[in-house]
Amino acid sequence: MPNIMDFRLNRRALLAGAAATAAAGVMAGSGPAGAQELSKVVAWETPYLGFFFFVVLQEALKRKAESLGLQFVGKDANGDSNAQVNDWNSLLLQKPRYLISDALDSELLIPLTKKARSLGVPVGMVDTPLTGGTVAASVTFDNRQSGVMAAEKTAELLTRKYGSPKGSVLNNYGSLTAVALRNRKEGFEETLKSKYKDIEVISRPQNNQHDEALAVVSATLRERPDLDAIHMPTDIFVVDARKAMETQKRLFPVGHEKHIILTSIDASPNALEWVKAGEIDADIAQDPIAYVEIVVDLLEQYTLKGQPVPTGPYENKKYFWEKGMIADSPSGPLLTIPPYFLTKENADDPRHWANVVTKVWKMEQNAG
């Protein structure tokens, strides 16, 4: 539990005046005088902290900053885009070394990138990039493509079952106010509807709520005793789908004749275990650790030295996917990391973020 250490530090900082001035000193270094001297503070603004994925994003940046001898400051918008704008304003005023953020709203932050530029603070975006403005470096994941891949996989497994792509699939989609989830839904459903007309897509929302996910999957299972497949847009809610199947005695391992095809996206530590145990058919991986590490590398390597981030192929053997592409986007250079399948065969590769989180960082996804 690294958090406890943090809290002690902060509590001491809050209560004791002496320690407080030490904390203040860190900030003072980033004051107006710091134009020549680079600040040691790395600022971070996350749209949520309530989900494990975002916890990993933040942890990755914390560790990366630490490894570079830098200070970390992080804020949480809790799903409110106005709060995110306010956080950006407050963080920028302190003139950090750079500001890294995952956008809750790809439009509303654009004017702030201009403000950041006038203050001389480089901005890096991860996960959800902006649709305009000046961002020094963005690293993202092709969410739409991950949905397409899940759809193709589902079609393939149904073909194996029936001889041709047909049957029914529940897409228990998440909150559409989150851009990533919206893109996954579109990729998944449009692929099935346009290419596989005999597959019936039952599209039902869970609003990023565990209880809603459980209720919707349960109800659909009762309503459709013949349901062939379930797709969850993120691993976070696979637990609820599994619980619903278990309650109705319809949870069977992959290969069993009554097995319901289950696909999801993220490749979180939980999913890694399910893949290994043959409890889930396919999980498509993104790489939160890579987003953060790469964006910091790009900012340190190029932006802080006054150079633009070069476009073109990007290669890094440190990550499982190894190759990506940096392209020009409306907001600046954008590295898109390709989605890939997490399989039984590749599950033990230490470069999966799930393995890094559990084996190297010793973090656990499930509390207790």
């Binding site: 900082a13 407080a20 996350t46 799903g79 409110d80 106005n82 302190q94 790809s106 439009e107």
Partner: protein
């Protein structure tokens, strides 16, 4: 005795100073000019919402649809420009008018159909936010118009002009609530509805108009948010409702109606904003910010409860 009463009445300002100094000790930057601007800008949008909620609290009711209202009327204003090419002044008028109409509908529900305001406006808020989600498909409506965005982005020297809107609106609210016949009718209706009715005040109309005024202010907030953020999306302000209700209470507005000064509402707004910006600037782990923020609001309300108790003792 009077000194004590003065202290208690102005406790919100004392807390603002205490919290500011505390934040200043933890990060000297908090007390800088740049951050003062930051605090005032953030207080503007919240402050208008606080006024909106306060107008309904004064008659002993509550409007929980203000967030839904601000997003919805902001969206209508944005559509007016994008789809119909309306001039920005027209768009502002449309935004505010939409808000007022929604408020009047709330008022009709509560005053004439005798629906419970807590539930009716909660449902109205859900409906409006859902309507925005449906109409925009969760996408952001970008507002590029310079005139529309002027208040939210322009500066004089280094000073943003947005806080001017805050003070103008609060000054107007003060004049209306403290000196106009309509304003005093609000207090009378909230303080004792039956007595106000018996004294010849058209209580139903006053109650409807309080909600219409709340809607007007929510529409105004919709304009200010859109101007400040440069666009409208359904996620705007989703965490603000609680603060918009807490701030008036911290500033001494009674949930039972009939009591509350505009200066107190302003104090409540600034205190909440100081807490929020303070937490944005202090190096506290994000995991604990919500907890600390909640505890500080609790503290402020506890101090207010102490004040109210003192007042009651006096009148025994």
């Amino acid at each position: 005795m009077n000194g004590r009463k003065f202290l208690l009445d102005n406790v919100v300002w004392i807390l603002i100073i205490v919290f500011s100094l505390l934040a200043g000790v933890l990060n000297p930057f908090f007390l800088s000019e740049g951050n003062l601007q930051n605090v005032l800008v953030q207080a503007t949008t919240l402050g208008v919402l606080v006024l909106a909620v306060s107008f309904t609290l004064l008659i002993g009711e509550i409007d929980l649809s203000v967030i839904g209202n601000l997003v919805f009327s902001g969206m209508i204003g944005a559509y007016a420009m994008q789809e119909y090419g309306a001039h920005w002044t027209v768009a502002v008028a449309v935004t505010v008018l939409t808000g007022t109409l929604i408020g009047a509908v709330n008022g009709y529900f509560v005053s004439y159909m005798r629906m419970n305001s807590l539930i009716a406006t909660l449902a109205m808020g859900l409906f409006l936010q859902g309507a925005v989600l449906g109409a925009t498909q969760a996408r952001t409506l970008v507002i590029a118009d310079e005139g529309y965005g002027y208040i939210g982005s322009a500066t004089i020297g280094t000073w943003p002009i947005m806080p001017v809107a805050l003070f103008v609106i609060y000054l107007a609210a003060h004049v209306v609530l403290a000196y106009s016949a309509w304003g005093r009718n609000l207090y009378a209706t909230g303080g004792n509805r039956r007595a106000a009715h018996a004294a010849g005040i058209n209580v139903r109309r006053v109650r409807l108009s309080a909600f219409a005024a709340a809607g007007f202010l929510a529409g105004l907030a919709g304009f200010l948010y859109a101007s400040y953020l440069g666009g409208v999306s359904v996620t705007v302000g989703s965490t603000t409702l609680l603060y918009a209700v807490a701030a008036p209470v911290i500033g001494g507005v009674s949930l039972l109606g009939g009591r509350g000064r505009v200066l107190g509402m302003l104090g409540g707004t600034l205190l909440i904003t100081v807490i929020q910006t303070g937490l944005q600037l202090i190096n506290v782990s994000a995991y604990y910010i919500q907890m600390i923020g909640g505890a500080m609001i609790l503290l402020a309300i506890a101090v207010d409860a102490f004040r109210v108790r003192g007042e009651e003792q006096e009148s025994v």
